[in-house]
Protein backbone atom coordinates (compact mmCIF):
# COMPACT_ATOMS: atom_id res chain seq x y z
CA UNK A 1 0.00 0.00 0.00
CA UNK A 2 2.79 2.40 0.95
CA UNK A 3 4.75 1.38 -2.11
CA UNK A 4 1.71 1.99 -4.25
CA UNK A 5 1.21 5.46 -2.83
CA UNK A 6 4.85 6.26 -3.54
CA UNK A 7 4.52 4.95 -7.08
CA UNK A 8 1.45 7.05 -7.70
CA UNK A 9 3.20 10.10 -6.32
CA UNK A 10 6.25 9.44 -8.47
CA UNK A 11 3.95 9.06 -11.41
CA UNK A 12 2.11 12.30 -10.76
CA UNK A 13 5.06 14.39 -9.60
CA UNK A 14 6.63 15.52 -12.91
CA UNK A 15 3.26 16.73 -14.09
CA UNK A 16 2.63 18.50 -10.81
CA UNK A 17 6.05 20.07 -11.01
CA UNK A 18 5.37 21.31 -14.52
CA UNK A 19 2.12 22.94 -13.41
CA UNK A 20 3.77 24.65 -10.45
CA UNK A 21 6.71 25.82 -12.51
CA UNK A 22 4.52 27.16 -15.28
CA UNK A 23 3.14 29.64 -12.77
CA UNK A 24 6.55 30.56 -11.35
CA UNK A 25 8.29 33.73 -12.55
CA UNK A 26 11.13 33.01 -14.97
CA UNK A 27 13.74 34.56 -12.68
CA UNK A 28 13.00 32.11 -9.92
CA UNK A 29 12.59 28.93 -11.97
CA UNK A 30 16.06 27.65 -11.16
CA UNK A 31 16.54 29.00 -7.66
CA UNK A 32 15.92 26.23 -5.19
CA UNK A 33 12.24 26.16 -6.05
CA UNK A 34 9.85 25.44 -3.18
CA UNK A 35 7.56 22.43 -3.48
CA UNK A 36 4.51 24.50 -2.59
CA UNK A 37 5.11 27.93 -4.10
CA UNK A 38 3.37 30.97 -2.68
CA UNK A 39 3.44 33.54 -5.45
CA UNK A 40 1.95 32.29 -8.66
CA UNK A 41 1.91 34.42 -11.83
CA UNK A 42 0.17 34.04 -15.17
CA UNK A 43 3.04 35.70 -17.06
CA UNK A 44 4.03 32.65 -19.07
CA UNK A 45 0.51 31.95 -20.26
CA UNK A 46 0.05 35.57 -21.22
CA UNK A 47 3.26 35.61 -23.27
CA UNK A 48 2.36 32.27 -24.78
CA UNK A 49 -0.90 33.43 -26.26
CA UNK A 50 -0.25 37.15 -26.75
CA UNK A 51 3.27 37.13 -28.14
CA UNK A 52 3.79 33.62 -29.38
CA UNK A 53 0.35 33.11 -30.90
CA UNK A 54 0.16 29.69 -29.35
CA UNK A 55 -3.47 29.41 -30.39
CA UNK A 56 -2.24 28.79 -33.95
CA UNK A 57 -0.66 25.39 -33.17
CA UNK A 58 -3.62 24.57 -30.92
CA UNK A 59 -5.98 25.27 -33.80
CA UNK A 60 -3.77 23.27 -36.18
CA UNK A 61 -3.67 20.31 -33.85
CA UNK A 62 -7.43 20.38 -33.33
CA UNK A 63 -8.07 20.44 -37.07
CA UNK A 64 -5.56 17.74 -37.93
CA UNK A 65 -6.35 15.37 -35.08
CA UNK A 66 -10.09 15.97 -35.38
CA UNK A 67 -10.25 15.33 -39.11
CA UNK A 68 -8.05 12.27 -38.85
CA UNK A 69 -10.27 10.85 -36.11
CA UNK A 70 -13.53 11.53 -37.91
CA UNK A 71 -12.28 10.01 -41.15
CA UNK A 72 -10.82 6.95 -39.46
CA UNK A 73 -13.87 6.17 -37.34
CA UNK A 74 -16.24 6.51 -40.29
CA UNK A 75 -14.25 4.59 -42.89
CA UNK A 76 -12.53 2.27 -40.45
CA UNK A 77 -15.85 1.50 -38.75
CA UNK A 78 -17.32 0.02 -41.93
CA UNK A 79 -14.17 -1.98 -42.53
CA UNK A 80 -14.07 -3.23 -38.95
CA UNK A 81 -17.69 -4.33 -39.14
CA UNK A 82 -17.02 -6.41 -42.25
CA UNK A 83 -13.92 -7.92 -40.66
CA UNK A 84 -15.75 -8.72 -37.45
CA UNK A 85 -18.98 -10.07 -38.87
CA UNK A 86 -18.93 -11.07 -42.52
CA UNK A 87 -17.41 -14.16 -44.08
CA UNK A 88 -15.14 -13.67 -47.06
CA UNK A 89 -11.95 -15.05 -48.44
CA UNK A 90 -8.76 -13.28 -47.49
CA UNK A 91 -10.18 -11.95 -44.24
CA UNK A 92 -7.44 -13.26 -41.95
CA UNK A 93 -4.79 -12.06 -44.34
CA UNK A 94 -6.35 -8.59 -44.36
CA UNK A 95 -6.48 -8.49 -40.56
CA UNK A 96 -2.85 -9.52 -40.42
CA UNK A 97 -1.79 -6.85 -42.89
CA UNK A 98 -3.70 -4.14 -41.02
CA UNK A 99 -2.14 -5.22 -37.74
CA UNK A 100 1.33 -5.22 -39.31
CA UNK A 101 0.85 -1.77 -40.82
CA UNK A 102 -0.25 -0.50 -37.42
CA UNK A 103 3.01 -1.72 -35.97
CA UNK A 104 5.50 -0.59 -38.52
CA UNK A 105 7.80 2.28 -37.67
CA UNK A 106 6.77 5.71 -38.89
CA UNK A 107 10.30 6.57 -39.90
CA UNK A 108 10.18 3.91 -42.62
CA UNK A 109 7.66 5.88 -44.69
CA UNK A 110 8.92 9.40 -44.01
CA UNK A 111 11.08 9.59 -47.13
CA UNK A 112 8.48 8.67 -49.78
CA UNK A 113 5.72 10.55 -48.02
CA UNK A 114 7.94 13.62 -48.02
CA UNK A 115 8.66 13.24 -51.72
CA UNK A 116 5.00 12.65 -52.59
CA UNK A 117 3.77 15.54 -50.49
CA UNK A 118 6.42 17.78 -52.00
CA UNK A 119 5.36 16.75 -55.48
CA UNK A 120 1.70 17.43 -54.66
CA UNK A 121 2.65 20.72 -52.96
CA UNK A 122 1.12 19.44 -49.72
CA UNK A 123 4.11 20.11 -47.47
CA UNK A 124 3.06 22.51 -44.75
CA UNK A 125 -0.69 22.00 -45.31
CA UNK A 126 -3.43 20.27 -43.30
CA UNK A 127 -3.95 17.45 -45.83
CA UNK A 128 -0.17 17.06 -45.81
CA UNK A 129 -0.47 16.04 -42.15
CA UNK A 130 -3.79 14.23 -42.19
CA UNK A 131 -2.78 11.82 -44.96
CA UNK A 132 0.38 10.65 -43.19
CA UNK A 133 -1.56 10.38 -39.90
CA UNK A 134 -3.84 7.84 -41.51
CA UNK A 135 -0.91 5.39 -41.70
CA UNK A 136 -1.06 4.78 -37.98
CA UNK A 137 -4.55 5.99 -37.10
CA UNK A 138 -6.47 3.83 -39.59
CA UNK A 139 -5.02 0.47 -38.46
CA UNK A 140 -5.45 1.50 -34.82
CA UNK A 141 -9.11 2.40 -35.35
CA UNK A 142 -9.90 -0.76 -37.28
CA UNK A 143 -8.14 -2.96 -34.80
CA UNK A 144 -9.98 -1.46 -31.80
CA UNK A 145 -13.37 -1.51 -33.53
CA UNK A 146 -13.06 -5.12 -34.67
CA UNK A 147 -12.68 -5.95 -30.99
CA UNK A 148 -15.73 -3.92 -30.01
CA UNK A 149 -17.94 -5.30 -32.79
CA UNK A 150 -16.98 -8.85 -31.92
CA UNK A 151 -18.18 -8.33 -28.37
CA UNK A 152 -21.74 -7.69 -29.54
CA UNK A 153 -23.81 -10.87 -29.70
CA UNK A 154 -24.34 -12.07 -33.27
CA UNK A 155 -27.90 -13.07 -32.43
CA UNK A 156 -29.01 -9.43 -32.21
CA UNK A 157 -28.07 -8.88 -35.80
CA UNK A 158 -29.63 -12.17 -36.84
CA UNK A 159 -32.83 -11.18 -35.06
CA UNK A 160 -32.84 -7.89 -36.94
CA UNK A 161 -32.42 -9.67 -40.26
CA UNK A 162 -35.17 -12.16 -39.46
CA UNK A 163 -37.27 -9.13 -38.51
CA UNK A 164 -36.81 -7.90 -42.05
CA UNK A 165 -33.76 -5.66 -41.95
CA UNK A 166 -31.04 -5.91 -44.58
CA UNK A 167 -27.44 -6.28 -43.40
CA UNK A 168 -26.76 -2.60 -43.74
CA UNK A 169 -30.02 -1.66 -42.06
CA UNK A 170 -29.26 -4.04 -39.19
CA UNK A 171 -25.83 -2.41 -38.92
CA UNK A 172 -27.38 1.04 -38.73
CA UNK A 173 -30.34 0.27 -36.48
CA UNK A 174 -28.86 -2.30 -34.11
CA UNK A 175 -25.09 -2.52 -34.28
CA UNK A 176 -24.16 1.16 -34.40
CA UNK A 177 -26.32 2.23 -31.43
CA UNK A 178 -24.95 -0.65 -29.37
CA UNK A 179 -21.38 0.02 -30.43
CA UNK A 180 -21.55 3.72 -29.57
CA UNK A 181 -19.49 3.41 -26.39
CA UNK A 182 -16.87 1.48 -28.33
CA UNK A 183 -16.93 4.01 -31.15
CA UNK A 184 -16.48 6.84 -28.65
CA UNK A 185 -13.57 5.09 -26.95
CA UNK A 186 -11.94 4.44 -30.30
CA UNK A 187 -12.41 8.04 -31.32
CA UNK A 188 -10.80 9.28 -28.11
CA UNK A 189 -7.81 6.98 -28.45
CA UNK A 190 -7.32 7.90 -32.11
CA UNK A 191 -7.57 11.57 -31.21
CA UNK A 192 -5.02 11.24 -28.42
CA UNK A 193 -2.54 9.45 -30.67
CA UNK A 194 -3.00 12.02 -33.42
CA UNK A 195 -2.76 14.95 -31.03
CA UNK A 196 0.49 13.62 -29.60
CA UNK A 197 2.14 12.67 -32.92
CA UNK A 198 5.51 14.31 -33.47
CA UNK A 199 7.71 12.80 -36.20
CA UNK A 200 5.38 13.39 -39.17
CA UNK A 201 4.39 16.84 -37.92
CA UNK A 202 8.05 17.74 -37.59
CA UNK A 203 8.93 16.35 -41.01
CA UNK A 204 6.07 17.74 -43.06
CA UNK A 205 5.67 21.29 -41.70
CA UNK A 206 7.99 24.19 -42.38
CA UNK A 207 6.88 27.15 -40.31
CA UNK A 208 4.76 28.09 -37.32
CA UNK A 209 1.61 28.60 -39.38
CA UNK A 210 0.97 24.85 -39.77
CA UNK A 211 2.92 23.40 -36.85
CA UNK A 212 1.04 21.23 -34.41
CA UNK A 213 1.28 21.70 -30.67
CA UNK A 214 4.07 19.16 -29.97
CA UNK A 215 6.24 20.54 -32.78
CA UNK A 216 5.67 24.14 -31.74
CA UNK A 217 6.71 23.36 -28.19
CA UNK A 218 9.76 21.35 -29.18
CA UNK A 219 10.96 24.18 -31.41
CA UNK A 220 10.42 26.99 -28.90
CA UNK A 221 13.51 29.16 -28.85
CA UNK A 222 14.25 32.25 -26.83
CA UNK A 223 16.62 35.03 -27.78
CA UNK A 224 19.38 34.08 -25.34
CA UNK A 225 18.19 31.01 -23.50
CA UNK A 226 15.53 28.32 -23.44
CA UNK A 227 12.25 29.99 -22.42
CA UNK A 228 11.40 27.31 -19.85
CA UNK A 229 8.45 29.11 -18.34
CA UNK A 230 6.70 29.36 -21.66
CA UNK A 231 7.60 25.81 -22.63
CA UNK A 232 6.06 24.50 -19.44
CA UNK A 233 2.96 26.64 -19.84
CA UNK A 234 2.64 25.34 -23.39
CA UNK A 235 3.16 21.81 -22.11
CA UNK A 236 0.24 22.23 -19.74
CA UNK A 237 -1.92 23.62 -22.55
CA UNK A 238 -0.92 20.72 -24.81
CA UNK A 239 -1.63 18.14 -22.18
CA UNK A 240 -4.83 19.56 -20.76
CA UNK A 241 -7.29 18.42 -23.44
CA UNK A 242 -6.01 14.86 -23.71
CA UNK A 243 -5.67 14.55 -19.97
CA UNK A 244 -9.22 15.73 -19.41
CA UNK A 245 -10.52 13.34 -22.07
CA UNK A 246 -8.57 10.48 -20.60
CA UNK A 247 -9.65 11.20 -17.04
CA UNK A 248 -13.28 11.53 -18.06
CA UNK A 249 -13.28 8.24 -19.93
CA UNK A 250 -10.55 6.39 -18.03
CA UNK A 251 -12.47 3.18 -17.51
CA UNK A 252 -13.31 2.82 -21.20
CA UNK A 253 -9.85 3.83 -22.31
CA UNK A 254 -8.23 1.19 -20.18
CA UNK A 255 -10.64 -1.30 -21.71
CA UNK A 256 -9.76 -0.12 -25.20
CA UNK A 257 -6.03 -0.11 -24.60
CA UNK A 258 -6.00 -3.61 -23.26
CA UNK A 259 -8.81 -5.23 -25.27
CA UNK A 260 -6.93 -6.14 -28.43
CA UNK A 261 -3.91 -7.29 -26.56
CA UNK A 262 -5.01 -9.50 -23.73
CA UNK A 263 -8.04 -11.41 -24.87
CA UNK A 264 -6.18 -12.13 -28.08
Amino acid sequence: MVALTLLVMASAFPFYWAIVSSFTPESRLFQSPPLFPADLVLDHYRTLFNERNFWVPVRNSLIVAGTTTAFCVAIGGLCAYALARLEFRGKSLLLGVILAVGMFPQISVVSPLYLVLRQLRLINTYPGLILPYLTFAMPLTIWLLVGFFRQLPAELEEAAMVDGASRLRAFREVIVPLALPGLATTAILTFVYSWNEFLFALSFTLGPERQTVPVAIALFRGQYQVPWGQILAAAIVATAPVTLLVLAFQRRIVQGLTAGAVKG
Partner: protein
Protein backbone atom coordinates in the same frame (compact mmCIF):
# COMPACT_ATOMS: atom_id res chain seq x y z
CA UNK B 1 -39.29 -30.72 -68.57
CA UNK B 2 -41.28 -27.54 -68.25
CA UNK B 3 -39.73 -24.11 -68.25
CA UNK B 4 -40.39 -23.48 -64.58
CA UNK B 5 -38.85 -26.82 -63.67
CA UNK B 6 -35.65 -26.21 -65.55
CA UNK B 7 -35.50 -22.76 -64.04
CA UNK B 8 -35.86 -24.31 -60.62
CA UNK B 9 -33.05 -26.73 -61.33
CA UNK B 10 -30.80 -23.97 -62.53
CA UNK B 11 -31.53 -21.89 -59.49
CA UNK B 12 -31.13 -24.94 -57.30
CA UNK B 13 -27.58 -25.42 -58.48
CA UNK B 14 -26.34 -21.88 -58.29
CA UNK B 15 -28.20 -19.74 -55.75
CA UNK B 16 -26.23 -21.00 -52.79
CA UNK B 17 -22.96 -19.74 -54.19
CA UNK B 18 -24.84 -16.56 -55.03
CA UNK B 19 -25.68 -15.85 -51.40
CA UNK B 20 -22.09 -16.31 -50.32
CA UNK B 21 -20.87 -14.16 -53.17
CA UNK B 22 -23.37 -11.50 -52.20
CA UNK B 23 -22.02 -11.42 -48.65
CA UNK B 24 -18.44 -11.34 -49.91
CA UNK B 25 -19.31 -8.49 -52.28
CA UNK B 26 -20.83 -6.50 -49.45
CA UNK B 27 -17.81 -7.22 -47.28
CA UNK B 28 -15.37 -6.04 -49.92
CA UNK B 29 -17.47 -2.93 -50.48
CA UNK B 30 -17.23 -2.08 -46.79
CA UNK B 31 -13.57 -2.95 -46.50
CA UNK B 32 -12.40 -1.23 -49.65
CA UNK B 33 -12.26 2.44 -48.60
CA UNK B 34 -10.22 1.71 -45.52
CA UNK B 35 -7.99 -0.87 -47.15
CA UNK B 36 -7.52 1.43 -50.14
CA UNK B 37 -6.46 4.20 -47.79
CA UNK B 38 -3.97 1.94 -46.07
CA UNK B 39 -2.58 0.78 -49.39
CA UNK B 40 -2.22 4.34 -50.54
CA UNK B 41 -0.73 5.98 -47.46
CA UNK B 42 1.25 3.09 -46.00
CA UNK B 43 2.01 0.17 -48.28
CA UNK B 44 2.70 2.14 -51.44
CA UNK B 45 5.11 4.52 -49.66
CA UNK B 46 6.78 1.53 -48.07
CA UNK B 47 7.44 0.04 -51.50
CA UNK B 48 8.73 3.40 -52.64
CA UNK B 49 11.13 3.54 -49.72
CA UNK B 50 12.60 0.23 -50.85
CA UNK B 51 12.93 1.61 -54.38
CA UNK B 52 14.59 4.79 -53.14
CA UNK B 53 17.01 2.80 -51.03
CA UNK B 54 18.70 1.29 -54.09
CA UNK B 55 19.14 4.66 -55.78
CA UNK B 56 21.37 7.64 -55.27
CA UNK B 57 19.08 10.50 -54.41
CA UNK B 58 20.46 13.63 -52.81
CA UNK B 59 18.16 16.65 -52.74
CA UNK B 60 21.16 18.91 -52.22
CA UNK B 61 22.69 17.67 -55.46
CA UNK B 62 19.79 17.45 -57.89
CA UNK B 63 22.14 17.49 -60.88
CA UNK B 64 23.19 13.94 -60.00
CA UNK B 65 19.74 12.72 -60.92
CA UNK B 66 18.55 9.49 -59.36
CA UNK B 67 20.76 6.70 -60.68
CA UNK B 68 20.40 3.08 -59.63
CA UNK B 69 23.29 2.14 -57.40
CA UNK B 70 22.26 -1.30 -56.16
CA UNK B 71 23.16 -2.11 -52.59
CA UNK B 72 25.61 0.77 -52.25
CA UNK B 73 23.47 2.61 -49.69
CA UNK B 74 23.17 -0.52 -47.58
CA UNK B 75 26.89 -1.16 -47.83
CA UNK B 76 27.54 2.39 -46.75
CA UNK B 77 25.30 1.92 -43.72
CA UNK B 78 27.05 -1.32 -42.79
CA UNK B 79 30.38 0.45 -42.94
CA UNK B 80 29.19 3.50 -41.03
CA UNK B 81 30.19 3.58 -37.36
CA UNK B 82 27.45 6.14 -36.64
CA UNK B 83 24.87 3.64 -37.95
CA UNK B 84 26.19 0.86 -35.72
CA UNK B 85 26.33 3.30 -32.85
CA UNK B 86 22.70 4.29 -33.41
CA UNK B 87 21.66 0.64 -33.61
CA UNK B 88 23.53 -0.08 -30.40
CA UNK B 89 21.92 2.88 -28.62
CA UNK B 90 18.48 1.73 -29.73
CA UNK B 91 19.06 -1.81 -28.53
CA UNK B 92 20.47 -0.57 -25.23
CA UNK B 93 17.55 1.79 -24.75
CA UNK B 94 15.00 -0.91 -25.65
CA UNK B 95 16.51 -3.54 -23.37
CA UNK B 96 16.95 -1.25 -20.36
CA UNK B 97 13.68 0.61 -20.52
CA UNK B 98 11.51 -2.38 -21.41
CA UNK B 99 13.15 -4.47 -18.71
CA UNK B 100 12.51 -1.84 -16.06
CA UNK B 101 8.99 -1.23 -17.28
CA UNK B 102 8.09 -4.91 -17.12
CA UNK B 103 9.38 -5.30 -13.57
CA UNK B 104 7.79 -2.09 -12.29
CA UNK B 105 4.63 -2.67 -14.31
CA UNK B 106 4.19 -6.14 -12.88
CA UNK B 107 4.60 -4.80 -9.36
CA UNK B 108 2.12 -2.02 -10.02
CA UNK B 109 -0.37 -4.41 -11.60
CA UNK B 110 -0.14 -6.83 -8.67
CA UNK B 111 -0.71 -3.98 -6.24
CA UNK B 112 -3.65 -2.63 -8.23
CA UNK B 113 -5.21 -6.07 -8.57
CA UNK B 114 -6.01 -6.07 -4.86
CA UNK B 115 -9.35 -4.45 -4.27
CA UNK B 116 -8.88 -1.22 -2.38
CA UNK B 117 -10.44 2.17 -2.04
CA UNK B 118 -9.33 4.81 -4.50
CA UNK B 119 -8.45 2.38 -7.23
CA UNK B 120 -10.01 4.71 -9.79
CA UNK B 121 -7.80 7.51 -8.53
CA UNK B 122 -4.70 5.39 -8.94
CA UNK B 123 -5.71 4.44 -12.43
CA UNK B 124 -6.27 8.07 -13.31
CA UNK B 125 -2.94 9.11 -11.81
CA UNK B 126 -0.99 6.58 -13.82
CA UNK B 127 -2.91 7.34 -17.01
CA UNK B 128 -1.74 10.96 -17.04
CA UNK B 129 1.87 10.20 -18.04
CA UNK B 130 0.54 7.95 -20.79
CA UNK B 131 -1.66 10.73 -22.18
CA UNK B 132 1.06 13.40 -22.24
CA UNK B 133 2.61 13.94 -25.68
CA UNK B 134 6.00 12.20 -25.67
CA UNK B 135 7.82 15.34 -26.77
CA UNK B 136 6.30 17.25 -23.89
CA UNK B 137 7.29 14.47 -21.50
CA UNK B 138 10.85 14.73 -22.80
CA UNK B 139 10.89 18.47 -22.19
CA UNK B 140 9.52 18.05 -18.66
CA UNK B 141 12.33 15.69 -17.80
CA UNK B 142 14.91 17.93 -19.40
CA UNK B 143 13.65 20.72 -17.22
CA UNK B 144 13.84 18.59 -14.09
CA UNK B 145 17.37 17.46 -14.95
CA UNK B 146 18.61 20.98 -15.67
CA UNK B 147 22.18 21.50 -14.47
CA UNK B 148 21.84 24.62 -12.33
CA UNK B 149 18.82 24.64 -10.05
CA UNK B 150 17.00 21.69 -11.65
CA UNK B 151 14.91 19.88 -9.07
CA UNK B 152 16.78 16.59 -9.46
CA UNK B 153 20.15 18.19 -8.80
CA UNK B 154 18.73 20.27 -5.94
CA UNK B 155 17.22 17.21 -4.30
CA UNK B 156 20.37 15.15 -4.69
CA UNK B 157 22.42 18.02 -3.25
CA UNK B 158 20.02 18.36 -0.30
CA UNK B 159 20.26 14.63 0.35
CA UNK B 160 24.04 14.87 0.22
CA UNK B 161 24.29 12.44 -2.67
CA UNK B 162 25.99 15.07 -4.82
CA UNK B 163 28.63 17.59 -3.79
CA UNK B 164 28.09 19.90 -6.69
CA UNK B 165 25.44 20.14 -9.43
CA UNK B 166 25.81 17.50 -12.11
CA UNK B 167 25.50 18.55 -15.75
CA UNK B 168 23.59 15.49 -16.85
CA UNK B 169 23.60 16.08 -20.58
CA UNK B 170 27.32 16.53 -21.06
CA UNK B 171 28.37 12.91 -20.63
CA UNK B 172 26.84 9.94 -22.46
CA UNK B 173 26.59 7.87 -19.27
CA UNK B 174 24.61 10.47 -17.38
CA UNK B 175 22.59 11.63 -20.40
CA UNK B 176 21.01 8.16 -20.63
CA UNK B 177 19.61 8.46 -17.10
CA UNK B 178 16.87 11.02 -17.84
CA UNK B 179 16.12 9.32 -21.17
CA UNK B 180 15.50 5.93 -19.59
CA UNK B 181 13.72 7.40 -16.58
CA UNK B 182 11.40 9.47 -18.74
CA UNK B 183 10.48 6.45 -20.84
CA UNK B 184 9.91 4.29 -17.78
CA UNK B 185 7.80 7.05 -16.26
CA UNK B 186 5.72 7.46 -19.38
CA UNK B 187 5.07 3.87 -20.38
CA UNK B 188 5.12 1.79 -17.20
CA UNK B 189 1.41 2.65 -16.73
CA UNK B 190 0.59 1.12 -20.09
CA UNK B 191 2.47 -2.05 -19.21
CA UNK B 192 0.79 -2.15 -15.81
CA UNK B 193 -2.66 -1.82 -17.35
CA UNK B 194 -1.98 -4.62 -19.83
CA UNK B 195 -0.76 -6.88 -17.05
CA UNK B 196 -3.62 -5.85 -14.78
CA UNK B 197 -6.11 -6.89 -17.44
CA UNK B 198 -4.28 -10.21 -17.65
CA UNK B 199 -4.39 -10.62 -13.87
CA UNK B 200 -8.10 -9.93 -13.78
CA UNK B 201 -8.63 -12.75 -16.26
CA UNK B 202 -7.23 -15.26 -13.78
CA UNK B 203 -9.98 -17.13 -11.98
CA UNK B 204 -9.85 -16.28 -8.28
CA UNK B 205 -10.82 -19.83 -7.33
CA UNK B 206 -7.44 -20.99 -8.68
CA UNK B 207 -5.76 -19.09 -5.86
CA UNK B 208 -8.12 -20.67 -3.36
CA UNK B 209 -7.35 -24.10 -4.78
CA UNK B 210 -3.62 -23.37 -4.61
CA UNK B 211 -4.00 -22.25 -1.02
CA UNK B 212 -5.84 -25.40 -0.09
CA UNK B 213 -3.08 -27.35 -1.83
CA UNK B 214 -0.67 -25.64 0.53
CA UNK B 215 0.92 -22.93 -1.63
CA UNK B 216 2.05 -19.83 0.21
CA UNK B 217 2.05 -16.36 -1.35
CA UNK B 218 5.26 -16.94 -3.28
CA UNK B 219 4.10 -20.37 -4.42
CA UNK B 220 0.83 -18.93 -5.68
CA UNK B 221 2.69 -16.24 -7.59
CA UNK B 222 5.19 -18.73 -8.98
CA UNK B 223 2.77 -21.50 -9.97
CA UNK B 224 -0.51 -19.70 -10.65
CA UNK B 225 0.08 -16.05 -11.48
CA UNK B 226 3.21 -16.23 -13.60
CA UNK B 227 2.24 -19.10 -15.91
CA UNK B 228 -1.26 -17.72 -16.50
CA UNK B 229 0.06 -14.21 -16.98
CA UNK B 230 2.60 -15.31 -19.54
CA UNK B 231 0.54 -14.33 -22.59
CA UNK B 232 -0.08 -10.84 -21.22
CA UNK B 233 3.59 -10.44 -20.33
CA UNK B 234 4.52 -11.55 -23.81
CA UNK B 235 2.17 -9.04 -25.40
CA UNK B 236 3.49 -6.22 -23.24
CA UNK B 237 7.06 -7.26 -23.98
CA UNK B 238 6.58 -7.30 -27.72
CA UNK B 239 4.47 -4.15 -27.87
CA UNK B 240 7.01 -2.26 -25.82
CA UNK B 241 10.04 -3.61 -27.66
CA UNK B 242 8.56 -2.56 -30.99
CA UNK B 243 7.80 0.84 -29.54
CA UNK B 244 11.22 1.27 -28.03
CA UNK B 245 12.87 0.43 -31.34
CA UNK B 246 11.08 3.37 -32.89
CA UNK B 247 12.10 5.82 -30.16
CA UNK B 248 12.40 9.31 -31.58
CA UNK B 249 10.32 11.99 -29.83
CA UNK B 250 11.77 11.45 -26.40
CA UNK B 251 15.41 11.59 -27.42
CA UNK B 252 14.77 14.48 -29.78
CA UNK B 253 13.36 16.54 -26.91
CA UNK B 254 15.73 15.39 -24.17
CA UNK B 255 19.21 15.14 -25.62
CA UNK B 256 18.85 15.71 -29.35
CA UNK B 257 20.98 12.58 -29.65
CA UNK B 258 23.85 14.21 -27.83
CA UNK B 259 26.33 14.74 -26.46
CA UNK B 260 27.71 14.35 -29.97
CA UNK B 261 25.80 11.35 -31.26
CA UNK B 262 26.21 9.27 -28.15
CA UNK B 263 22.50 8.86 -27.41
CA UNK B 264 21.29 8.98 -31.00
CA UNK B 265 18.83 6.16 -31.77
CA UNK B 266 18.36 4.71 -35.23
CA UNK B 267 15.14 6.61 -35.96
CA UNK B 268 16.80 9.95 -35.18
CA UNK B 269 19.84 9.08 -37.28
CA UNK B 270 17.54 8.20 -40.17
CA UNK B 271 15.56 11.40 -39.70
CA UNK B 272 18.77 13.43 -39.79
CA UNK B 273 19.99 11.67 -42.92
CA UNK B 274 16.67 12.41 -44.60
CA UNK B 275 15.63 15.85 -43.49
CA UNK B 276 18.86 17.42 -42.27
CA UNK B 277 21.27 16.11 -44.89
CA UNK B 278 18.54 15.51 -47.51
CA UNK B 279 20.17 12.20 -48.52
CA UNK B 280 16.99 10.42 -49.50
CA UNK B 281 18.60 7.34 -50.99
CA UNK B 282 20.79 6.63 -47.98
CA UNK B 283 18.06 7.64 -45.51
CA UNK B 284 15.65 5.27 -47.24
CA UNK B 285 18.12 2.42 -46.89
CA UNK B 286 18.25 3.16 -43.16
CA UNK B 287 14.43 3.24 -43.10
CA UNK B 288 14.28 -0.17 -44.71
CA UNK B 289 16.67 -1.55 -42.12
CA UNK B 290 14.56 -0.15 -39.26
CA UNK B 291 11.49 -1.58 -40.93
CA UNK B 292 13.07 -5.01 -41.37
CA UNK B 293 14.00 -5.18 -37.70
CA UNK B 294 10.57 -4.13 -36.44
CA UNK B 295 8.85 -6.31 -39.00
CA UNK B 296 10.75 -9.30 -37.71
CA UNK B 297 9.52 -8.54 -34.21
CA UNK B 298 5.98 -7.90 -35.47
CA UNK B 299 5.96 -11.26 -37.22
CA UNK B 300 6.65 -12.96 -33.94
CA UNK B 301 3.72 -11.11 -32.44
CA UNK B 302 1.34 -12.15 -35.21
CA UNK B 303 2.61 -15.72 -35.08
CA UNK B 304 2.05 -15.89 -31.34
CA UNK B 305 -1.26 -14.08 -31.01
CA UNK B 306 -2.70 -13.29 -34.41
CA UNK B 307 -3.67 -16.87 -35.15
CA UNK B 308 -5.77 -16.96 -32.02
CA UNK B 309 -7.43 -13.70 -32.94
CA UNK B 310 -8.33 -14.38 -36.53
CA UNK B 311 -9.11 -18.06 -36.17
CA UNK B 312 -11.59 -17.94 -33.30
CA UNK B 313 -14.88 -17.05 -34.86
CA UNK B 314 -18.16 -18.55 -33.65
Amino acid sequence: MSVSESEGLLRGADPIRGVERQEARLAWGLVLPAVGTILLVALFPLAWTVWESVHLHDLRMPWLGRPFIGAANYLEALGDPRFWGALGHTAFFAATSVGLELILGLGLALAMNRAFRGRGLVRAAILVPWAIPTVVAGLLWRFMFAGEGGIVNETLLDLGLLREPLVWFIEAETAWVPVILADVWKTTPFVALLLLAGLQNIDASLYEAARIDGAAAWGQFRHVTLPLLKPAILVALIFRTLDAFRVFDLVYALTGGGPGTSTEPIALYTFNALLQNLRFGYGSALSVIVFAITFGLALIYIRLLGAELTGSKR
